[in-house]
Symmetry: C2
Subunit: 245 residues, 2 copies
Amino acid sequence: MFRYKIRIEYDGRGFVGWQRQDNGPSVQQALEEAVEKFCGETVTLFGAGRTDSGVHALGQVAHFDLERENGADTVRDALNFHLKPHAVSVLEAELTECDFDARLSARERVYLYRITNRRAPLGLNRGLSWWVPAPLDAEAMNEAAKGLIGEHDFTTFRATHCQAKSPVKTLDVLDVSRSGEVIEIAARARSFLHHQVRNLVGTLKLAGEGKWTAGDVKAALEKKDRAAGGPTAPPDGLYLVEVVY
Amino acid sequence: MFRYKIRIEYDGRGFVGWQRQDNGPSVQQALEEAVEKFCGETVTLFGAGRTDSGVHALGQVAHFDLERENGADTVRDALNFHLKPHAVSVLEAELTECDFDARLSARERVYLYRITNRRAPLGLNRGLSWWVPAPLDAEAMNEAAKGLIGEHDFTTFRATHCQAKSPVKTLDVLDVSRSGEVIEIAARARSFLHHQVRNLVGTLKLAGEGKWTAGDVKAALEKKDRAAGGPTAPPDGLYLVEVVY
């Protein structure tokens, strides 16, 4: 048995998300079908992050097993050949240890959330950024973000249907910066709760608008109640950038 | 009569180009229809650059005349409201002098061409960059580009159906730089011939692959023959960035 690790880029539009579902095409399915077309083997792919519908990846990581060995570059190029109809690209493939697990071995997941903050809507990059027309104070957002870094019970920022055993997570980085009309929010943690980044961003937006103070954001965290948090930001601006092992 | 100048961003995919044509939707038509929906006036838009099908704009400029005056911000917001189904956004609108002409008053047009130079195809940004899998030497491309700067007869880089009176143009800037896997080519001139930037890029790619020397590129220019130039690069990577007045 040969275990392969692949690094993947995709445009989340047109997919129901990473994971196979009955209601539409998933990135996992596109990749599993590409593997089968390439070598005839029926495999299951295990991804590091279960990105939602409309969420993009610059560096998703997944593993799968093949019975026969193939060169890593052959695997990458053959998968890309069969992926042509899909906005999915295998950036890298490598033969890895049999105990490597894309999900369980991950030490850190890196997400980026992109907001286009200007009066005019998006002409280019529709679906690839969250358009927020009201002026946002990125420094106020960054100040509010500081209060969320560290180990906390993140129930306030957790989707109500989230299946994680514990709502306690350690947020290593939550950094907000502006460059022109683009605001980028970087988030790093060993793992995230379902919708956590989007719920954090939706709440930081309230701080950026001046509706909430950094203290309000901290108080919402401490309530451990989803109803106390801000709305969920749309998937458009969210990118799984990197998975660190 | 009130003349308005607008600055426009668009995704060139799904359009036959800037200019109205019988064979499909154009950016000009989308904007003219938005003006009519907004204020009932039937107008003709005059754009600074006639971008081709699939070519994008970060800062196209156009002018049109209204019989009744409207606030500039109202014009911008109302056009954007009616443009919603289209990947076109009016970034800015202003009331301008009646002798302002988006095309004739332009002192300089700024284009950017983006190449993604890596083995893996595009997952994200399909249609928004030219994927070139073979390694390109950006410094060699930049060296070859230097020989094209200045006033020349650009017949070699001119579409055979180009309608410009003269093939002589002055290229102020042609600069190639790499950042990671992305190569950007900046081009600035008072005006360009039809397909000039894409033909220049297609030729510089040959220099990047090591197939042509800087001397070969210069010799092609001097032949004043389209057949002596390299192929036309696809529209995907081309952006009209700015028009200077």
